[in-house]
C-alpha cells in the first residue's frame, strides 16, 4: 500500500555535503501492508468471537496478537531509525543504458537490520539484510533516455521487518548524480572533417616529432619504433608511427554537419569520439563553448564526452 502525500508536507531527509544522510526518528512513515489489514480483520473476528463466547482465553490470545501487532510497529520503525546512507560512485553511461547508483548503508548499531529496501520511483527495488555493526552497498538502476546530469532523485528507504504486516518508509534526497553521455549515433560523422586538420592523410611514419598512431609491423621498420608495450600485452608486433607537424589530427567539429539537428549532431560527434578511441587516434573537440585540444587516453575521452553531455546545460 503506497500513498503519495503532496511534496510540501512530507518529510524528507537530505544528504549532507559529504554525501551522507541519516534517517531521523520523525522522518519515518509507517502503515500496514495488505497483510496487516487482513491481520486486523482477523483480530476483529477473534474479538467478536471472544465476546460472544465470553471466553477469556480467546480474549487472551486476541489481545496477545494485538499486542504483537503494536510491538511490531515499534520494531519496524526501529529497523529504519538511525540508518546511515552514503553516496557511492556512479560510472557515466550512454543515454539509453541504465544508470546505476551505488549507495552505501551503514548500520552502526549492535543489532541487525534485516530487510532494508531501497527504491526510486517504482523501479525495481534493491534489498539487503544488514547485520549488526556492518556496512553494505546496494545498487539502484535508473533508465536513461537523454544526455545530461541525471540526479538520483528521491530514494525511498523501507522495511517490513519483523512481521511483514507493516511497512515503514522514509524519503531520502541524496545528492548523487550520474553523468549521461549522448547516445552514440549509428551514423558516423563526415569522414573528412572540416576545420583545421592540415592534411587528411598526413605523413605517417615519415616525421619524427609526434606520435600519431600505430600500424602492424612491417619488415624494415626501425626497432626503435616497435610498440613494445603492445607486444608485452600480446597484441602482436606493432610499429609506432610518428609524424611531423602535418600529423593526422582529427578534429570533431560542431560545424562540420550543417543542417543536422542539435542532439543528433551530439550523437554523431559521440560516435566519432568512440571510433577515434577505438583506433587510438588523437582527436580534438570543438563545439560551441568548448574547445578541447587533440589528445588521447581515457581522461581525454571522458572530458570530451562530458562536454557533450553537459552541452547547453550550464553556462
Amino acid at each position: 500500500m503506497k500513498i503519495k502525500p503532496p511534496d510540501r508536507i512530507i518529510r524528507i531527509s537530505h544528504s549532507d555535503p559529504q554525501g551522507r544522510a541519516r534517517i531521523r526518528p520523525r522522518h519515518i512513515y509507517i502503515l500496514p501492508t495488505r497483510y496487516g489489514v487482513i491481520f486486523a480483520l482477523l483480530l476483529l473476528l477473534l474479538l467478536i468471537g471472544s465476546i460472544n463466547y465470553a471466553n477469556n482465553l480467546a480474549f487472551f490470545l486476541t489481545f496477545l496478537l494485538a499486542g504483537l501487532g503494536i510491538v511490531a510497529t515499534l520494531h519496524t520503525w526501529r529497523n529504519l531509525v538511525d540508518l546511515e546512507l552514503t553516496i557511492g560512485n556512479s560510472d557515466p553511461v550512454f543515454a539509453g543504458q541504465p544508470a546505476s547508483f551505488t549507495l552505501h548503508l551503514n548500520n552502526s548499531r549492535d543489532g541487525e537490520r534485516p530487510s532494508i529496501q531501497l527504491q526510486i520511483d517504482n523501479l525495481p527495488a534493491a534489498t539487503t539484510d544488514l547485520a549488526g555493526r556492518s556496512r553494505d552497498s546496494l545498487r539502484l538502476q535508473r533508465n536513461t533516455s537523454k544526455r545530461g546530469v541525471l540526479p538520483l532523485g528521491r530514494v525511498t528507504v523501507s522495511s517490513h521487518y519483523p512481521l511483514g504486516l507493516l511497512r515503514a518508509w522514509s524519503y531520502v534526497e541524496m545528492d548523487a548524480t550520474c553523468l549521461v553521455y549522448p547516445k552514440p549515433s549509428t551514423t558516423r560523422p563526415p569522414a573528412t572533417m572540416q576545420g583545421y586538420d592540415r592534411s587528411s592523410s598526413g605523413d605517417k611514419g615519415v616525421g619524427v616529432d609526434d606520435f600519431v598512431g600505430i600500424r602492424p609491423y612491417r619488415p624494415g621498420d626501425s626497432p626503435k619504433h616497435i610498440h613494445w608495450k603492445a607486444l608485452a600485452n600480446e597484441r602482436g608486433l606493432q610499429t609506432k608511427q610518428f609524424g611531423g607537424d602535418r600529423a593526422d589530427r582529427l578534429w570533431l567539429d560542431w560545424d562540420s554537419m550543417p543542417g543536422v539537428e542539435r542532439e543528433d549532431r551530439l550523437s554523431r560527434i559521440c560516435r566519432g569520439i568512440l571510433d577515434a578511441c577505438d583506433r587510438e587516434q588523437e582527436f580534438g573537440l570543438n563545439i560551441p563553448g568548448t574547445e578541447l585540444n587533440p589528445s588521447r587516453g581515457q581522461n581525454h575521452r571522458h572530458r570530451c564526452l562530458a562536454a557533450l553531455a553537459n552541452f547547453g546545460e550550464t553556462a
Partner: protein, 659 residues
C-alpha cells in the same frame, strides 16, 4: 503489490507451515468425528507426498472436487448446521485443503492467520493451563515463520528466530495484560451459534436424564441477579428453587402432572427475607425464588410443591420482588404427594434393596435412614466430577455400585430413588445453588454454571426437608460455588477429586497436600482468568480504587493505559537499539579534538596511521605519546581484542595526553 508476493515459498518455510498447522489442529482431533480427522490427515499426507513428487499436487478442478468431498463429509457427520462443532469440523477440513494450495509467499500469510485462528478455537473446548502453554508456543512458532519470511535472505538459524519471536510475544505481554484487564466485559453473548431458538439456552431443563450427559458445559452466562433488601443468606443457604421432578422411569425424571392441591400453609421458623430478582430470558414458564417462597411475584403462582410458575414463557428480561423463609416446616403431606412421592420405577435391583434394608435395620426412624444414606455417600468412594462416564439402561444401579462418579444430578436422583425405596416420600428439586456477590452493584449474580439439583424428603416431624447429597460428597461444591469455582472440578479433568473419610498414609498425605496445591492454583486460574467476568472486573476496579471506570469509561481507560504502555515500550525499544559510539572510538575522538586545538585537524578521509605520520611531522615533540595512543587504538579497534585492561589504559592515556 510487491514482486516478492509471488515468489515461491522456500521448502523449509513450507515444511514449517505444514507442521505448525497440523500441530494447531491436533487437539481438535479428540472431539471431532474420526472422518473429519481422517480427511484432514489425508490432505496433509497428500501435501507431504507432493513435496517429493510435485506432480501429485492436485490441480484446480481436483481441488474443487476435494472441497466438495470435504463439505459432504462434514454434513454427513454433523447433521446440525450452524453449530459451533460443525463450524470447527468444516474449518479443520478446509485448512487441510488450504495446505494443498500454498505456493507463494502470499499464501504464507493467509496460512499463518488461519493457524492463529485455529489456535483460538482450541479454547472453546479446552481451557486448561497446559493448553495455554501449548497455544503460546505455537503462536510463537507461527510468528517465527512471519519473521523468517520478512527477511530478505533466510537467517539459517531457526532457533534464533524462535527466540526472537518469543521475545516479541514477551514484549506484547504488557499490552495484552492492559487490554485483558480493562476491556469491558459483556454479561451475555451477542449472538449464539449453538442455540438458534431461545429455549436452547443452557441452563435448567424440565427433566433430567441420568447418565446421558458425559460432560456438563459450564456456561458463565448469567441466569439471574438478586438484590437483597436486608441481610443476605449465607452461601450454603442460597438454594434457588426451580422445577420439581416427581415422575421417573428409572432413567428420566420429569415434572409430570402439576399437583392439584394448594401449597400448604407453612410454619415459618425464621424471619422473612425480601429480595428483587432480575431474571434473564429462559424461554420457560418458571421463575426462580429462594427456598422456600412466601410471597411470589405478580403474574405468577405457587404450586403445591412450591414451584413458582408464570402464565407465559419468559422471553424478555424480567424483574420481580419476592420473599422467602430459610427455615420452615411444611407440615402434613397430602395423599397425592404421598402417592407420587413413593412411586418406583421397574428397574429396582436386588442390591439396591439390600442396601436400603441395611440402612433401615440400623435406623430408628426416617431421619436416621436419611443420615445413613448420606453417610454412605460420604464414606464410600464416591467422586464428584463434571465428566462422569456414560451410564447404561439402569443408571442408578450402575452409579451406586459401579461407576460412583457423577455430579449433582446423579447424586440427587439416586438418593431420591433410594429414599422412596425406603418408604420415605421424596422428590427431586432442580434450580441453582450459590451465586457470586458483586460488592459494587451490591447484588448476587447467579450463573448457568450454578445450576444444581437436590432432593426433598418428607419427614413426619419436619415436613418437606431439603437434603443435598452432593454436599455430603463434595461440600466444596456448596461452600465455594459463590466464587464461580464450580469449574474447579473441570480443571482436574480425568483426575476426579476424592472426598471420602479414608485413611491416608504419609505418601497419601503428601499427595493430598500436592492436590491442595494444584487445587489452589486451579482455583486462582478459574477465578482470575477463566472467571474474569463483568462482576469480577468491577470488583477489581473497586479494589484498584477505580470505581468510576465503567462501561464506556472503562473502554477509554483501556485505550489510555494501552497507549501509555506502548509509549513506555517504544522508549525501551528505542533506548536498547540506539546508536552507541563505543567507548574506544569516543576516546579516540577526544584525542583528535585535543590535537585539533593545537592546529592538527584530522581530515575526513585520513586513517589513524596517516594522521599519526602528519602529527609526527608537525610536532616531533609529542611523537611518542601519539604513537602509543594510535597503536593501542588500532589494536583495540581492528584486532577484535576487547581486553578490558587495554581499554582502561587507552582511556587514561588519552586523558593524560597533552599536546
Amino acid at each position: 503489490m510487491r514482486v516478492q508476493d509471488r515468489e515461491p515459498l522456500s521448502r523449509s518455510l513450507l515444511s514449517a507451515l505444514i507442521i505448525l498447522l497440523v500441530a494447531a489442529a491436533v487437539p481438535h482431533f479428540f472431539h471431532l468425528h474420526l472422518w473429519i480427522t481422517l480427511f484432514f490427515l489425508a490432505s496433509v499426507a497428500l501435501r507431504v507426498a507432493s513435496m517429493v513428487r510435485p506432480e501429485l499436487l492436485p490441480g484446480k478442478l481436483l481441488l474443487f472436487l476435494l472441497a466438495v468431498a470435504g463439505l459432504v463429509n462434514v454434513t454427513l457427520n454433523y447433521p446440525v448446521l450452524f453449530s459451533g462443532e460443525t463450524a470447527i469440523a468444516l474449518m479443520t477440513s478446509m485448512v487441510g485443503l488450504k495446505l494443498l494450495e500454498i505456493n507463494t509467499r502470499r499464501d504464507l500469510f493467509i496460512v499463518v492467520f488461519i493457524g492463529y485462528f485455529l489456535l483460538a478455537t482450541q479454547f472453546l473446548f479446552n481451557q486448561d493451563m497446559w493448553m495455554v502453554g501449548y497455544v503460546i508456543l505455537l503462536t510463537a512458532a507461527l510468528t517465527g515463520v512471519l519473521l523468517e519470511n520478512s527477511r530478505h535472505r533466510p537467517s539459517g538459524n531457526p532457533i534464533k528466530t524462535y527466540w526472537k519471536s518469543l521475545a516479541l510475544l514477551l514484549q506484547a505481554l504488557p499490552v495484552m495484560l492492559v487490554l485483558f484487564v480493562f476491556f469491558p466485559r459483556l454479561s451475555g453473548p451477542i449472538w449464539s451459534l449453538d442455540s438458534p431458538d431461545i429455549s436452547g439456552i443452557t441452563g435448567l431443563g424440565d427433566s433430567i436424564t441420568m447418565g446421558s450427559i458425559s460432560g456438563l458445559v459450564l456456561s458463565p452466562a448469567v441466569a439471574f441477579r438478586v438484590e437483597f433488601s436486608g441481610p443476605k443468606p449465607a452461601p450454603p443457604k442460597r438454594y434457588w428453587r426451580g422445577p420439581i421432578l416427581w415422575d421417573t422411569d428409572g432413567r428420566n425424571w420429569t415434572r409430570g402432572k402439576p399437583l392439584t392441591n394448594e401449597p400448604l400453609v407453612m410454619k415459618p421458623n425464621s424471619p422473612v427475607i425480601d429480595y428483587f430478582i432480575t431474571l434473564e430470558p429462559s424461554g420457560r414458564r418458571w421463575v426462580m425464588v429462594l427456598d422456600l417462597p412466601k410471597a411470589v411475584p405478580e403474574q405468577a403462582k405457587v404450586l403445591g410443591d412450591f414451584q413458582v410458575i408464570r402464565q407465559k414463557p419468559i422471553y424478555d428480561r424480567i424483574r420481580y420482588q419476592a420473599s422467602s423463609w430459610l427455615f420452615y416446616n411444611t407440615g402434613k403431606i397430602t395423599p397425592e404427594e404421598l402417592k407420587r412421592g413413593l412411586q418406583l420405577p421397574g428397574n429396582i435391583t436386588q442390591r439396591m434393596r439390600h442396601l436400603v434394608e441395611e440402612w433401615k435395620s440400623v435406623a430408628a426412624n426416617d431421619l436416621d435412614v436419611v443420615n445413613q444414606a448420606l453417610r454412605h455417600f460420604r464414606n464410600e468412594e464416591f467422586y464428584y466430577t463434571l465428566r462422569p462416564p456414560l451410564l447404561s439402561s439402569n443408571p442408578v444401579d450402575q452409579f451406586m455400585f459401579e461407576s460412583r462418579r457423577g455430579f449433582c444430578e446423579h447424586f440427587a436422583t439416586s438418593f431420591t430413588l433410594l429414599m422412596r425405596l425406603a418408604g420415605i416420600p421424596s422428590r427431586v428439586v432442580t434450580g441453582y445453588q450459590g451465586g457470586e456477590y458483586n460488592p459494587l452493584g451490591d447484588h448476587l449474580v447467579v450463573r448457568q454454571s450454578d445450576a444444581h439439583a437436590w432432593s426433598e424428603v418428607w419427614l413426619p416431624e419436619a415436613g418437606w426437608v431439603r437434603v443435598d447429597p452432593t454436599a455430603a460428597v463434595a461440600p466444596e461444591r456448596i461452600e465455594r460455588s459463590f466464587e464461580f469455582d464450580t469449574g474447579l472440578a473441570d480443571g482436574l479433568l480425568g483426575a476426579p477429586i476424592r472426598f471420602g473419610n479414608v485413611h491416608l498414609g504419609m505418601v497419601g498425605n503428601m499427595l493430598k497436600q500436592l492436590r491442595w496445591g494444584v487445587d489452589a492454583v486451579n482455583a486462582s486460574w478459574h477465578r482470575w482468568v477463566l472467571g474474569y467476568t463483568e462482576e469480577r472486573q468491577s470488583r477489581l476496579m473497586h479494589m484498584l480504587g477505580l470505581d468510576f471506570l465503567q462501561g464506556r469509561r472503562l473502554g477509554l481507560a483501556m485505550v489510555v493505559f494501552a497507549a501509555i504502555t506502548v509509549l513506555l515500550l517504544g522508549v525501551a525499544i528505542w533506548y536498547k537499539g540506539r546508536n552507541r559510539i563505543d567507548a574506544v572510538y569516543a576516546d579516540y575522538l577526544r584525542f583528535c579534538s585535543k590535537l585539533k586545538h593545537r592546529g592538527i585537524t584530522r581530515r575526513d578521509t585520513e586513517g589513524p596511521l596517516d594522521y599519526l605520520k602528519r602529527i609526527c611531522r608537525q610536532r616531533p615533540d609529542i611523537k611518542h605519546g601519539a604513537t602509543q595512543i594510535t597503536q593501542l587504538y588500532i589494536k583495540l579497534r581492528y584486532s577484535h581484542s576487547s581486553g578490558k585492561n587495554d581499554q582502561r589504559s587507552f582511556h587514561s592515556m588519552v586523558r593524560r595526553f597533552r599536546p
